[in-house]
């Protein structure tokens, strides 16, 4: 008996140690990237960087203010397209899609999830940019929005399927119609998970560069119009990092840092906003 309990204790401690080590290992690259970004980028983040547009090539100074605003604009368009369509599709899949049509959509969503982002960029280029005959923030937002849909849809579906059926029955039993039950009871019960899914999709597309190369295109100047070529942080970082100028290299680091901070900030803001007013014991 003693031997058994010693063996159990050892395996227990071994497994715990392994789990802790794995957790640390996961955190290491994340922290390393962030620390490295701060070290390399913080020196170039200043008022000018945050408020000015880029200087002509070769000149020192200037900033990425237009790209920060452009990224926000493009991500806004992407979320307006990706979140409602994704949630709608997820609701269909979970509540009505237990059939072959649902299976087809599920399969399509998974394939779309695996399509390289540059391919989506090319598709949007030929469907929208070519027709409109110019690059635009709008087309960039559409490309990123399309990329958000499958993630949001599958997350919504999974979360709705986790809502116990007895909750739906309770609503039906009160004479609440099915559509109302889905929106006000099931979706509400699943809301925390659905929001997490939306944030994951948002964070994933926020740093995308490839789909923006020939949709939003980039812009050295201020632009707030949706139908004009627009700067984005990821594009600006890409261009600056490939340039021969030392000052632009530094600004590329700063741009990466700002991009990460914006993404983390947006995710945190949504989390705080949605957890407010949460009930005790919910």
């Amino acid at each position: 008996m003693r031997g058994v309990s010693l063996w159990r204790r050892l395996t227990n401690q071994g497994a715990t140690a392994f789990a802790i080590a794995a957790a640390i290992l996961v955190l290491v690259p994340l922290l390393a990237i962030f620390v490295y970004l701060v070290i390399k980028g913080i020196g170039s983040v200043n008022i000018a960087f945050l408020t000015q547009t880029p200087k002509p090539p070769g000149e020192v100074g200037g900033g990425m203010a237009n790209a920060i605003v452009g990224t926000a604009l493009i991500l806004g368009v992407a979320s307006v397209i990706g979140v409602p369509l994704g949630i709608g599709a997820g609701i269909y899949l979970a509540e009505y899609g237990r059939n072959r049509f649902g299976d087809a959509i599920r399969f399509t969503a998974d394939v779309l999830n695996g399509v390289p982002s540059i391919v989506i960029g090319v598709a949007v280029y030929s469907l929208i940019v070519v027709r409109q005959k110019h690059f635009s923030a709008f087309s960039g937002g559409i490309a990123l929005g399309i990329m958000m849909i499958p993630t949001v849809a599958r997350a919504t579906e999974e979360m709705l399927l986790m809502v116990p059926n007895v909750i739906r029955e309770a609503a039906y039993g009160l004479g609440i119609p099915k559509w109302r039950t889905t929106l006000s009871v099931s979706l509400r019960t699943a809301s925390a998970g659905v929001i997490t899914g939306c944030m994951l999709a948002f964070a994933r597309v926020a740093g995308e560069t490839a789909p923006l190369l020939f949709t939003a295109f980039g812009n050295q100047f201020w632009n707030l119009k949706l139908n004009q070529p627009t700067a984005a942080l990821s594009l600006q970082v890409y261009t600056y990092a490939l340039s021969p100028y030392d000052d632009w290299h530094k600004q590329a680091w700063a741009g990466s840092l700002i991009l990460i901070i914006l993404i983390v900030g947006a995710v945190a803001a949504v989390r705080i906003a949605t957890s407010r007013g949460r009930l005790k014991g919910a």
Binding site: R98, P164, V166, I167, E169, A170, A171, Y172, G173, L174, G175, I176, P177, R180, T181, S184, V185, R188, T189, S191, L279, K280, G281, A282
Partner: protein
């Protein structure tokens, strides 16, 4: 005020399996009627047919005639959603809406059906919680606490209040106390006794003592058929059918 229920030739199926065979039963208004029988005998299916909840399960269907007051439940023009609004249901496991406050749980049937009058909603919530004997325990935390934060017995009384708030004519209870401790059970039983002044109550139960305590009439189901239906006293003292006697004396089930 409650209304009576007339069941004639009610059949129900899950896919190809028939689970109810031609049930005839008359439930009087403002009485408590118990439905007893061994597991799988169709007693839950029976009450779920009374408010058309049965058909919400994929591949399940029912046919026959059920009249509740003047409403023909399986009539061709009858909307199942409207049926469920008038015939409330309490389920075996307490199922409060976890994301809603206590108040919102009770008001859910009103609010989500488009009822907008704030003051009347407040009154109905208070009245329902008082009827279900939960008011004193939760009145301080109506908006602060989630329905899921209550104890099991409180949750079940919350579910009863939620069903009462839409002012149904009939209340169906599917083993409402089977997941609860004895104290909570006796509270629910007292409550059922009170409720019959205002409602017609049909209660499914596993527990024969419970049927004897709360119900004036009892129906015994076996393998999808109603074997015997009579005054509770008669069922438990001098049953007419041998199978009823075998069941209540514990020879099977």
């Amino acid at each position: 005020m409650g209304v009576g229920i007339e069941v004639r030739g009610l059949n129900a199926w899950y896919g190809k399996n028939q689970s109810l065979n031609s049930i005839d039963m008359t439930v009087p208004a403002n009485h408590v009627t118990a439905v007893i029988g061994p597991s799988g005998c169709g007693k839950s299916t029976f009450v779920r047919c009374l408010n058309r909840m049965h058909e919400t399960i994929p591949e399940a269907r029912a046919a026959g005639s059920v009249k509740v007051g003047d409403m023909d439940i399986y009539g061709s023009g009858t909307d199942p959603v409207e049926v469920r609004r008038r015939i409330g249901m309490v389920f075996q496991k307490p199922n409060p809406f976890p994301s809603m406050s206590i108040y919102d749980n009770v008001a859910a049937g009103l609010k989500l059906n488009g009822f907008r009058n704030r003051k009347q909603t407040d009154e109905l919530v208070e009245r329902s919680l008082k009827l279900s004997a939960l008011w004193d325990e939760v009145k301080e935390n109506l908006h602060k606490k989630s329905g899921a934060s209550l104890s099991g017995g409180q949750q079940q009384r919350l579910c009863i209040a939620r069903a009462l708030a839409v002012e149904p004519e009939v209340l169906l209870m599917d083993e409402p106390a089977s997941a609860l401790d004895p104290i909570s059970t006796s509270k629910i039983e007292e409550l059922i006794f009170q409720l019959k002044q205002h409602y017609t109550v049909v209660i499914v139960t596993h527990n024969m003592q419970q049927a004897a305590r709360v119900a004036e009439l009892t129906g015994f189901f076996l393998m999808g058929s109603l074997i015997e239906y009579d005054k509770t006293e008669k069922i438990f003292t001098t049953p007419a059918d041998k199978r009823t006697e075998d069941y209540i004396t514990g020879r099977f089930g």
